[in-house]
């Protein structure tokens, strides 16, 4: 952001009338001087409202309400007008309820330090200190990701532990099986590897072969049993037929065979006559006979042959059963031969150990070996023999099958276990690598973060200490530690160096003034870091009340030197010394705009006036018409005293001691006489093109001639400038003018035309002004640096 050009405040705090402050944008520093109650804090509060939406000095005050107490007494929030203009931009602040808002919302970077806040950075709790610095070290998003990485590493560790547990369990289980199996091989894993490599498909095939063999044997046994059953039925049928024949043979009377035959014929005739319609004639001889008579005759005769007819039926049934039994025997016989041939087939190139061991040869079964046996009896005998042999092997087949099944189960089980052992071993190795890598990555991220934030904190502490050393040179006081508290979240610990001790809390040992300057340096270091684009406006609200005059000069010099890092530095003070440092050119008066606030009242509001350099005021008074000799003599005398006092102090000249530490002009001139004999002002020379030489060349100038002339006119200061007396009245205006002119000449000769400062920045060989080399003006009076030391 550019420098603030204008601030307009109305009806806000003490600005009971419209206040307009026009800032000189050519000057990096603005000094607002005013005694207490002239409106300095109102101006700072207005800037704070624009830059930070802050209620400013009311922020920390209890029993105050923004809406009631920010408006000037008797005014309403809506009456408030605060406006800041900078280049083409302008911002307005308004109060709604108790909240201040700035429009536009993207506010200018105005940072305010108040006296009441000065020591807070130093005295704050670690958490509050972190809060103040968190903009510069807040890496919360990285910390979130870092925590996720830590979780990943922990999770991988848990996975690894689980994998190790599984591996141990699998190893133990395998070991147990190995021991049960009699510890074959060198160790459990090697044994398991060998077992797992076995071909279970072959074992499965053997089991299938044995199952087929068993089932074939069982089928053959069934076929044989069924044949034998069928043969038994045939035998029984034969016996039944024989028994009926014997019963027939025992029948009395006529030829039984014929009677049985006749009964059969009559039975059929009777059935024939019962079915359908017939004429009245015999169906055999065609003799005419009534049909009813014929039917009755047949029935009568059948009744007579009933016994024979029953035996006929019995004999026919027995014969039929026998025939069926024979047919069944034939079928069962065929089935038996098929089953026996199947058995015989299994013996061909049989790989089943049990069958091979039985020594069954196909040649021993010639009929079965044929596709169709020729001699059934032989075939039957061979079948029965073969089945008998195989029946005897059945238990062995079952046992062999069980043994192979058991072996297959064992191989499968060991294979699973071996694979588990191997998988767990691999997983353990992989997880161990992953966990180690995640841990290393976590440590990398963590350490990088800590180093990163610590580097920033070191830079802040280092800058703070550098600034502090400028204000308090040669004092072994500094911040020794500014570090994140690793054990806590968002906590920043701090320690200081004091009297050789490097780890003390500064608030416990530092004086009030030292704490103030330390707090100021800390704050300035932070704001400077924020102002990387030289875009922060620094506002110091009457901050240095506890600091003595010597250190105020150091701070003024520091602010001048550091002002190039900021958009603008605005200092408010009630200390006249601040104003005089610039006004009398002990500081960079030409780089500083001076505004003086005077006499606030509710009706008049805040009054402000531009303050000029004392030398400029003197020049103006010399040029004024009519010439005011008293003013000119007085102003020249005061300016001369200010210059001589400054130089006497800077070079530690011997000045006659007085009770109250105040010196007359004559005493100061006497005291600095030896200084002016040696004192040279060195101004940078420039070439024909107006450029500085590199390395720089300096043109020396001795101001002794001016002071020698002044010496004879010093009486004018009192006689004309301060008192009414006859001798003063006798002094001519030209003498007064000469005195004033010589004073102006001395001030201009000694000061830098650019920054306006009489060189006061100490180096080992000279004092220099606030301009950067090679444009700086130097004061040189020999070495050692001070007259006191030289004498």
């Amino acid at each position: 952001m550019a420098r603030i050009e204008r601030l307009v405040v109305e009806n806000y705090r003490g600005s009971s009338t419209r206040l307009q402050l026009d800032f000189d944008t050519d000057k990096p520093i603005t000094l607002l001087f005013g005694e207490n109650g002239t409106g300095k804090t109102t101006i700072v509060d207005a800037l704070d409202a624009i830059g930070n939406c802050s209620k400013g000095s009311l922020e920390d005050k209890s029993s105050t309400q923004a809406r009631d107490h920010l408006p000037t007494i008797g005014k309403k929030p809506a009456d408030i007008r605060i406006e800041v203009t900078s280049g083409a931009s302008s911002w307005k602040a308004s109060l709604a309820g108790n909240n201040l808002t700035t429009n536009p919302a993207l506010r200018p970077k105005i940072r305010v330090l108040r006296r009441s806040h000065l020591q807070r950075l130093i005295e704050a709790q670690p958490a509050q200190r972190y809060e103040a610095l968190q903009h510069f070290i807040d890496v919360g998003k990285i910390e979130r990701s870092e925590n996720a990485l830590k979780e990943a590493a922990t999770s991988a560790k848990n996975d690894l532990d689980a994998a190790i547990k599984r591996r141990v369990e699998a190893d133990a289980q395998l070991q147990k099986v190995w021991e049960v199996e009699g510890k074959p091989g060198s160790n459990a894993v090697e044994w398991a590897k060998t077992v797992a490599a076995q071909d279970t498909a072959k074992l499965e095939q053997d089991v299938q072969s044995l199952r087929l063999l068993y089932s074939t044997v069982a089928k053959a046994e069934t076929a044989l049993a069924e044949l034998q059953e069928a043969q038994a039925v045939t035998t029984q049928g034969d016996a039944e037929v024989q028994k009926v024949e014997q019963e027939i043979a025992k029948l009395p009377g006529i030829d039984a065979q014929n009677a049985i035959s006749l009964a059969g014929i009559l039975q059929k005739v009777g059935q024939h006559l019962q079915a359908g319609t017939h004429t009245d004639e015999c169906p055999v001889c065609r003799q005419a006979i009534p049909l009813d008579e014929l039917k009755a005759d047949v029935q009568k005769r059948l009744s007579e042959l009933k016994q024979y007819d029953e035996l006929r039926i019995k004999r026919d049934a027995a014969a039929q059963s026998l025939q069926v039994a024979h047919q069944l025997v034939d079928g069962k016989m065929g089935a038996l031969f098929t089953a026996a041939r199947a058995l015989l087939c299994l013996t061909h190139n049989c790989v089943i150990e049990i069958v091979a061991a039985a020594g069954i040869k196909q040649v021993d079964y010639p009929e079965l070996a044929k596709q169709n046996g020729a001699i059934q009896t032989d075939e039957l005998i061979e079948s029965e023999q073969l089945i008998g042999i195989f029946s005897a092997l059945k238990q062995s087949i079952v046992d062999a099958g069980s043994a192979i099944s058991k072996q297959t189960g064992l191989v499968s089980s060991i294979r699973v276990q071996y694979e588990q052992v191997q998988e767990n071993a691999t997983a353990t190795v992989e997880l161990a690598k992953l966990q180690s890598a995640l841990n290393e990555a976590y440590n990398t991220v963590r350490l990088t973060r800590i180093e990163f934030t610590q580097k920033i904190l070191d830079q802040i502490a280092s800058e703070c200490n550098r600034l502090y050393a400028v204000i308090h040179p040669n004092e072994p006081i500094a911040i020794s530690k500014l570090a994140l508290d690793i054990g806590k979240r968002a906590s920043l610990s701090q320690a200081a160096t004091f009297q050789g001790h490097n780890d003390v809390p500064p608030q416990a040992y530092f004086s009030e003034s030292h704490l103030d300057t330390l707090g100021f340096c800390f704050w300035l270091a932070l704001v400077k870091r924020e102002s990387q684009n030289n875009d922060v406006v620094v506002v110091l609200d009457d901050v240095f009340t506890s600091v003595d005059s010597q250190h105020i000069k150091q701070i003024a010099q520091l602010l001048t030197d550091e002002s190039k890092h900021f958009a603008q530095v605005i200092i408010t003070t009630h200390q006249r010394l601040w104003r005089d440092i610039y006004r009398y050119q002990h500081g960079a008066g030409k780089l500083t705009q001076m505004i003086e606030l005077q006499g606030w009242s509710l009706s008049k509001g805040i009054s402000n006036f531009k303050t000029r350099l004392a030398v400029d005021e003197l020049i103006a008074s010399i040029a004024s018409a009519p010439f005011d000799r008293q003013v000119a003599a007085s102003k020249a005398g005061v300016l001369l005293e200010a210059i001589l006092d400054y130089l006497a102090l800077q070079y530690r000249c011997r000045v006659a001691r007085t009770h109250d530490g105040s010196y007359t002009l004559g005493e100061l001139l006497d005291g600095t006489e030896s200084l002016f004999k040696k004192l040279e002002v060195h101004r940078p020379d420039i070439d024909a093109a107006g450029q500085s030489y590199n390395p720089p060349k300096y043109v020396p100038f001795k101001s002794e001639t001016i002071t020698s002339q002044i010496r004879g006119l010093t009486f004018l200061r009192n006689q004309v400038g301060a008192h009414f007396n006859v001798s003063g009245a006798a002094v001519a205006d030209t003498d007064v003018q000469l005195f004033a002119d010589l004073t102006v000449k001395l001030a201009q000769a000694l000061s830098c035309p650019t920054c306006g400062q009489i060189p006061g920045k100490k180096t080992p060989t000279h004092f220099q002004c606030s301009c950067a080399a090679p444009k700086e003006v130097r004061l040189q009076a020999g070495t050692p640096l001070t007259i006191e030391a030289q004498e």
């Binding site: 704070d48 903009h135 995640l438």
Partner: protein, 78 residues
């Protein structure tokens, strides 16, 4: 009494933000140590800057980088 506040605020953070600057630094460090597989820089950097890298992301990233390392070793041996 009100809690004392420290008057340092900044609406516009330094560019890049500390978080972004650190994210770039972290990715560079991880890469230096072989924890970033080829082509993953941008993804890791983006998630670090957004603060959204989770456990699964890290496991995947590191696993990928480890696999690549392992492959390189094997290829070297071959």
């Amino acid at each position: 009494m009100n809690e004392p506040t420290i008057v340092i605020t900044a609406e516009v953070l330094p560019t890049p933000t500390p978080n972004d600057a650190l994210a770039d630094l972290v990715v560079a460090k991880l890469k230096e140590k072989g924890f970033v597989a080829d082509g993953k820089d941008a993804e890791i950097s983006a998630k670090l800057k957004a603060g959204t890298a989770n456990r699964e992301d890290w496991t995947l990233w590191i696993d990928l980088a480890q696999s690549k390392k392992q492959k390189d070793v094997e290829n070297g041996e071959n």
